[in-house]
Amino acid sequence: MGVIVGAFGIPHNPHFPTWADGGHPLADEIQSMYRPLALAFERARPDALLYITSDHYNMFWETLPVFAIGVAESARGASDYPELRRELPIDAPLAGEIHAHLVDREFDVAMLQEVEFDHTVIAPLHFLMPEAEVPLIPVYVNAFVRPLPSARRCLQLGRAIRSAIESSPATTRVAVAGSGSFSLEIGGPRISEDSHTGVPDPVWLDRVLQHLRNAAIDDLVIEATDEQLWRAGNAGGEVLDWIAMLGTFDPRPPDHLDVQPQFGHAFAAWALDGTPEA
């Protein structure tokens, strides 16, 4: 039986690796935001990292799956930021098992036989897993091109992923990460006065943080309507990646939670013992 040994909510600003290593004024802050997650990841000693993210128009465009899972042996990236270069292994056998389980549970998830990571994978792993090469299981949720999956459906996807991991014959220790912002506008009418990005709905950002602190996942799901996600910005759908991650374990407050309000995103970690529900 596989066990989920830790969960992580992690942002993916593409500039952070370069800023953190290049003496940017925010370098220390960025390092200090990711460090607790990296330490928790190390302590969890995972054999695999199931990584839930949203492709930013890089791998998918002409055809857009609502949900997809990568079953290739490995993948390179970042396809959209050539300065971030890394090749990472994929746990193809476990990814294939999870995929089969999801389809059996009536989640008709697309199968990706070739994968190219974009910055949403490569940038955060620069901090979460700078050296170790824990194999990934990439899972994609469409958070950008409407119609988006509902928050409830994403939570159920997380639950089905948990059931897949726990019914696996291998005793794999799996960490789960969900990547994204809570309120973010990129290049659209709601950008700030001094940038090509903005945080249109800081109230929603606080609301999501409050629900995370209270482990009020059902409330988060009820409030994360399509209208609310759009109010949160053209990247507001990314909270769906967090919601899918939150479906993989019983609700509990995070062991670590920090926020960068100016970016509309947060950093979170849950240490989990992997004990299945009674």
Binding site: Y57, S79, G187, G188, P189, H196, N234
Partner: protein, 96 residues
């Protein structure tokens, strides 16, 4: 405007260095060769770096901002932001 063709061009600009080079050397023939075809209005707007009108026409902003990021059509991220803010000044004033 078809919008889809502009969105697709912006996406290709991220992934195709040869297309970026062709667009910088001589934008009009490179834009005429794009498939699906861009309309004359779209080609004029792109060459002018008029992201305001492309935004108003409904182009995807994440993809559109790639024109600024990759310094296409005389844009950078600063001028991109200025033109988007100017094009949407009315609704920005009306926003809570």
């Amino acid at each position: 405007m078809s919008v889809y063709a502009v969105n697709k061009l912006c996406r290709r600009i991220v992934h195709e260095p040869a297309l970026r080079e062709a667009l910088r050397d001589d934008p009009e023939p490179a834009l005429r060769a794009a498939r699906p075809s861009l309309s004359d209005d779209e080609i004029r707007a792109l060459i002018a770096g008029d992201v305001g009108s492309l935004s108003k026409a409904g182009c995807n902003h994440f993809l559109l901002h790639q024109l600024g990021r990759w310094h296409m059509f005389g844009l950078d991220l600063r001028t991109y932001g200025e033109r988007i803010r100017a094009a949407h000044a009315d609704e920005r004033r009306a926003a809570p």
